[in-house]
């Protein structure tokens, strides 16, 4: 089961390159443009690193033919390793799909059945009806979509404020935002639950949604990206008659659309996959989300592995669809990082 902290860890890793630079730049209190170019150069450094794998330069005096052969060999080896990894990652998913189409007895069979000759499609609807999957999915959608929209809005606005506005305690507040990324959810989960209970939100949608309306990752991500927007564009917009709001909506946001799409996807996945938090702030089906439904499915259908597999697939389906549809934006957004003038 996936947990928020793990995902946060990923994102810290991604942001780290530009983050390191920013802290250095910030310490010298360089203007926004200075730090902005820092982001860009972080990106290009990274690119250079990938473009020249170590050892390339050492082959300068090898014959051209041998060099070519060597390159094919290296590439071939790479593909083999990657293919191996792909099998390792893909196999459990494949097994889940296969198992969802088998009967319980076939699933238990040894050696395992690796291809469903007589697929049983009925398990999908059975999982739906027996485990209230429809209700859980609906709840998950409500919670996830609201969280996603709110996170985008708050992150974009806060990222903009940190990148462009001058206000008291700006650095301190930004540090606080970054700090939230470092604190694992487990550390705050108990006090947060008490707060929710005190607010009388136990067993309600606000309990599932409100704690996730803002995102340290998102604020950090967008601040870095927005600082990469050339300063001249801001000045040009000022002279063209646009204030902060229009500069944000007509220039900064459109320019960062790929990154925002990528973040939307990330926010969706994080919210959709939540388990621990919904579990401890709800105890009735009416507001529970699909991941908890999954766990319950396990309890109610101990003997029906096929149902569990089918339900699991159904719960993961929205994520699959989103990933497939937005694959390009995701890759572009994550690799673009900062845009160039």
């Amino acid at each position: 089961m996936w947990r928020p902290t793990e995902r946060t860890g990923d994102m810290v890793g991604y942001g780290d390159g530009s983050g390191g630079i920013d802290v250095a730049g910030g310490a010298g209190s360089v203007g926004s443009a200075g730090t902005g170019s820092g982001v860009v150069s972080a990106g290009s450094l990274d690119g250079t690193g990938r473009g020249l794998p170590p050892g390339r330069s050492g082959q300068l005096n090898a014959g051209a033919g041998r060099k070519k052969t060597r390159r094919y060999a290296t590439n071939g080896a790479r593909y083999i390793v990657l293919a191996g990894l792909a099998v390792i990652v893909g196999f459990p998913i494949y097994i889940t799909v296969v198992n969802s189409l088998l009967s319980s007895r076939q699933i238990a069979a040894r050696p395992p059945v690796l291809f469903p000759l007589h697929p049983l499609w009925g398990d999908f609807s059975a999982a739906f009806s027996q485990a209230h999957l429809g209700l859980y999915l609906r709840n998950s959608f409500i919670v996830t979509i609201l969280i996603m929209i709110a996170e985008i809005i708050t992150s974009v606005l806060a990222g903009y404020a940190f990148a462009y506005l001058k206000f008291p305690f700006r650095r301190l507040l930004f540090m606080a935002c970054i700090a939230t990324m470092m604190v694992p959810m487990e550390a705050t989960i108990v006090p947060n639950r008490q707060t929710i209970v005190a607010l009388g939100w136990f067993n309600s949608f606000p309990a599932l949604i409100v704690p996730f309306l803002a995102s340290g990752v998102g604020i950090f991500l967008f601040r870095q990206a927005f600082m990469g927007v050339p300063k001249d564009l801001h000045d040009a917009a000022k002279l063209d008659g646009y204030g902060h709001w229009h500069f944000l909506t007509r220039i900064v946001v459109p320019l960062n659309r790929p990154l925002i799409a990528a973040f939307a996807l990330y926010a969706f996945m994080s919210a959709w996959n939540q388990y621990l938090w919904p579990l401890i702030v709800t105890d009735t089906n009416s507001v529970r989300t699909v991941q908890i439904g999954m766990a319950e499915l396990e309890n109610v259908s101990v003997n029906h592995f096929n149902l569990i597999f089918a339900g699991t697939l159904e719960a993961a389906l929205p994520i699959f669809i989103l990933l497939i549809v937005f694959q390009r934006q995701l890759v572009r957004g994550l690799s673009a990082g900062a845009l160039k003038g």
């Binding site: 000045d235 040009a236 002279l239 063209d240 008659g241 646009y242 229009h246 220039i251 320019l255």
Partner: protein, 370 residues
């Protein structure tokens, strides 16, 4: 104190960044329809001055007027100035048309009117065929023209241009230079143009303000500035190649005044001699333009000679540019028209000052004038 007719007027404007002065006590008037060039070396404060006028920076001191109105507290968008940035600052995600009409949209110009204006400007800058493209699909020169179009379409009181041609290649720069001058004449617009390139400045400007170290050193027509530089900095900065400036001691002996330099000494012309007697300066900077120095073999009648060794001979179009190392140290550039005589690196020559001499006080650098 400023005349009300100036399009843009600065009165004793200063700007400090954290106690570091970027602009000090700048006073300048730009007349309507004038092409004013701000010229100076990198870091002298040209951009800062332009940004102060645009309202992108606030002055620490002084008054800025645009069209007679004090604009110190007026937002950039309400100052009625348009700016062309060195980076062009085109909005990358918008088409050329959208870029050009962007300033009109914020001013709620009705769509029909907007289209008419965009088409008109696009026509005058040969951009009609490019209106549907994005900036990334344009060449440097085309981007430059889009940036100009975006500024022109608003019909502002003054155009501020920050090194708008510096990203273009040499050929295109010359073309755009001509295009800008034409545009200026055709539209009768007021332009404040920043550059560090004195060729641009002298060929385009009606007047030039030479800036150095955050201070306006001299304001005048290109001829003024070339012929009567107010101080040694301006003298050395304007003119290509730069003026030769030699520090010399003043020696009064009877009727004659000599400037002596590391052993060599030459007699100063009568008018300058009178001037120096009056001013009682002991040490001067003698400025001579390269074309006012000539190379002589023997001691001729001139005002005195300087011995030097040829260290480099360059052929620049129709002239030979000869760089000589003086006996006492320091270099002198000489522009000689194709000569009867071949001069080669390593030759020993004597230099004679045959044209105008400029004298500056060695201590202050100020021009010495009657």
């Amino acid at each position: 104190m400023a005349s009300a007719s100036a399009a843009v007027a600065l009165e004793a404007v200063s700007k400090w960044y954290d106690n570091v002065p970027a602009i000090q006590d700048a006073t300048l008037e730009v007349m309507p329809g004038e092409f004013m060039v701000l010229l100076g070396p990198s870091g002298c404060g040209k951009t800062t001055l332009l940004r102060l006028i645009a309202g992108l920076e606030n002055p620490s001191q002084g008054v800025i007027r645009i069209g007679g109105r004090v604009v110190n507290d007026v937002d950039p968008k309400d100052r009625d100035v348009a700016m062309v940035f060195q980076s062009y600052a085109l909005y990358p995600h918008m088409t050329v048309r959208r870029n050009i009409e962007f300033p009109l949209r914020s001013r709620h110009v009705p769509e029909q009117e907007r289209n008419r204006l965009v088409e008109e400007v696009a026509g005058s800058l040969q951009l009609e065929k490019l209106l549907g493209r994005k900036p990334a699909q344009l060449s440097g020169g085309q981007r430059q023209r889009v940036a100009l179009a975006r500024a022109i379409v608003r019909r502002p009181l003054a155009f501020l241009m920050d090194e708008p041609l510096s990203n273009l290649d040499a050929q295109l720069r010359i073309e755009m230079r001509a295009e800008l001058v034409e545009l200026h004449a055709k539209l009768g617009i007021t332009i404040i143009y920043v550059t560090h390139d004195q060729v641009e400045a002298t060929t385009m400007g009606n007047r030039i303000a030479v800036i150095e170290g955050g201070r306006i050193q001299q304001v005048g027509t290109p001829q003024d500035i070339y012929q009567r530089p107010v101080n040694a900095f301006v003298a050395g900065f304007v003119g290509n190649p730069p003026m030769n400036i030699i520090e010399a001691k003043v020696e009064l002996s009877g009727d004659v005044v000599n400037a002596s330099f590391q052993g060599a000494s030459f007699q100063l012309p009568a008018d300058l001699a009178t001037l120096l007697r009056k001013k009682e300066v002991s040490s001067v900077l003698v400025g001579v333009r390269p074309q006012d120095v000539s190379i002589v073999k023997e001691d001729t009648v001139g005002m005195g000679q300087l011995r030097a060794k040829v260290s480099l001979v360059e052929s620049v179009g129709s002239v030979y540019r000869i760089i000589c190392r003086l006996d006492g140290g320091g270099f002198v550039t000489v522009d000689a028209y194709r000569d009867k005589r071949e001069i080669r690196t390593g030759d020993m020559v004597e230099l004679s000052i045959t044209g105008d001499m400029h004298l500056f006080d060695a201590a202050s650098g100020e021009r010495l004038e009657p």
